[in-house]
């Protein structure tokens, strides 16, 4: 179980997360939706320990991320997670099978002689074969995503964090990836957090959906509840409308920028 309480994260003067309270139950897939820059990916990175929260705490299976000190503790914590990066983040100097098995050396005691077989098994799980010796540059966008997914599951994690897994893919490949995520959830029985803008994929894979806005959680609910939510922010986002409170904020920002720029113009 992942339990986040009042998580705050700042980058310089900008506060990205303004007190996130979120609980992810074991075995569920929580999908986080929200506009660009609302802190979705930052939250994922706080969960895995890539970013350290400035306030609040994140507890996974009773372990508080911020209190991990020794290298063994950190390794033990990371072993629980698979992380799918938005652009895949495959190592372009390595072949596909080397990419998939990279983490096994550091996260597991599996002998290196078995790595290639494990890579083929993971590739089969994501619907690929005979690409073990390809370099990432030789793969299409969808294949890269699937190889990255294979890498995320190679060390048999208990949790998988998906950072916009369908971004940049065509609608068919988006659906293929969503199906794959769903299949993996069923086969591997992992707990997952998926960050996405894609409502179709979100409805398909989510046990619950959490809507982030300006670093806060607006609503957490079952996809069917989100579909009929009367929260105007959620409503606007899931319907993909340009008019609404989120746009109003943008307009306010534009107006503020224009009014700030005016005195400079007059002064010059």
């Amino acid at each position: 179980m992942i339990d986040a309480e009042g998580v705050i994260k700042r980058f310089g003067p900008r506060t990205i997360l303004r007190g996130i309270d979120l609980r992810v139950e074991t075995g569920e897939t929580l999908v986080i939706i929200g506009g660009s820059g609302c802190g979705k990916s930052t939250f994922l990175k706080c969960v895995i320990g890539l970013h350290h929260p400035d306030g609040g705490k994140i507890v996974v299976d009773g372990i508080e991320v911020a209190k991990l000190k020794t290298e063994a503790e950190i390794a033990d914590y990371r072993r629980r997670f698979g992380y799918l990066f938005q652009e895949g983040a495959l190592f372009d100097s390595m072949t596909v099978w080397e990419n998939i098995t990279f983490g096994l050396r550091y996260l597991t005691d599996i002998p290196s002689g078995k790595y290639r077989g494990i890579a083929s098994d993971c590739l089969a799980l994501v619907g690929l074969k005979d690409v073990e010796d390809f370099k990432p540059s030789e793969l299409s966008g969808g294949m890269k995503k699937r190889v990255a997914l294979a890498r995320a599951i190679a060390a048999q994690p208990s949790y998988i964090l998906y950072d916009e897994p369908t971004t940049g893919l065509d609608p068919i490949m988006t659906d293929v990836i969503a199906d794959l995520i769903l299949d993996l959830q069923k086969q591997l029985k992992v707990t997952a957090i998926m960050v996405t803008h894609d409502m179709k994929a979100a409805y398909k894979v989510a046990s619950r959906i959490a809507m982030f806005h300006e670093g806060k959680v607006l609503q957490v609910a079952h996809p069917d509840i989100i579909k009929i939510s009367d929260n105007p922010y959620v409503r606007q986002f899931v319907d993909g409308k340009s008019e609404g409170p989120i746009k109003m904020k943008l307009k306010e920002f534009e107006a503020e920028t224009a009014s700030n720029a005016q005195p400079d113009k007059e002064g010059s």
Partner: protein, 263 residues
Amino acid sequence: MISNAVGGLGKYILGAAEETGQFSFLVRSTFGWMTSYRIEWRQTLIQIVRIGVESLPVTAMTAFFTGMVLALQTGASSKHFFNEPLFVGTVVAFSLVMELAPVMTAIVVAGRAGAAIAAELGTMKVTDQIDALYTLGTDPIRYLVIPRFIAFMMVLPLLTVASDFTGIFGGYLVAHAKYQIPATVYWHDIVDQMEIRHFVHGFLKTFVFAAVVSLVSCFKGITTRGGAEGVGKSTTAAVVISMVLILVLDYFATAVLNAFGIT
């Protein structure tokens, strides 16, 4: 306007302080990991080949022509003053072994391998590959920085020794072809005047240069921000800072070595 200037200066100082702190953290972490003896030897070997073997032709050629031009200038000057080319081998060897070979080899390797390191690590940074290393259970400093640091420390001194020899040989070709100096005279000019400490003087400096170029290049790479433009900026900064530091630290290293009598 004054407040803007003061604000800008303050921002610059804060930025410089932050970068110095991050660099210090990198240096501390590098030495911390090295003392834990968990070194990625396969990666280190790959870097030795990339930084050392692949740089050898260009560093050797640079030293070769530097030796040639030194012999040409020395011969011409001594002919002008003494009517014959005197101590060509001595001047070529002293200049190369104590200063030019260490400094020029370091500068050439900084331009070639240092730039490549900053660009590679910078690209890894902006495409999340460095974060991926964390999530896959290893530390980027252990996996990326230390192999490059060790490779530089092993390879740059050897490249410099190779530059010493190729430069001296280049000098000999000019001394022989242009001024008809026999090989025995050229060689005696060198061995009669030079001692081991002169060689050690130049050799020890290469370790300082190796540490600076490798750490600066890695630092600029892993702190890259902002896509392709950021990678370009990091690469340029890595090369420029490395080159300037090589020249600045050459003075201080020489002063320290002189103070210890290694001169």
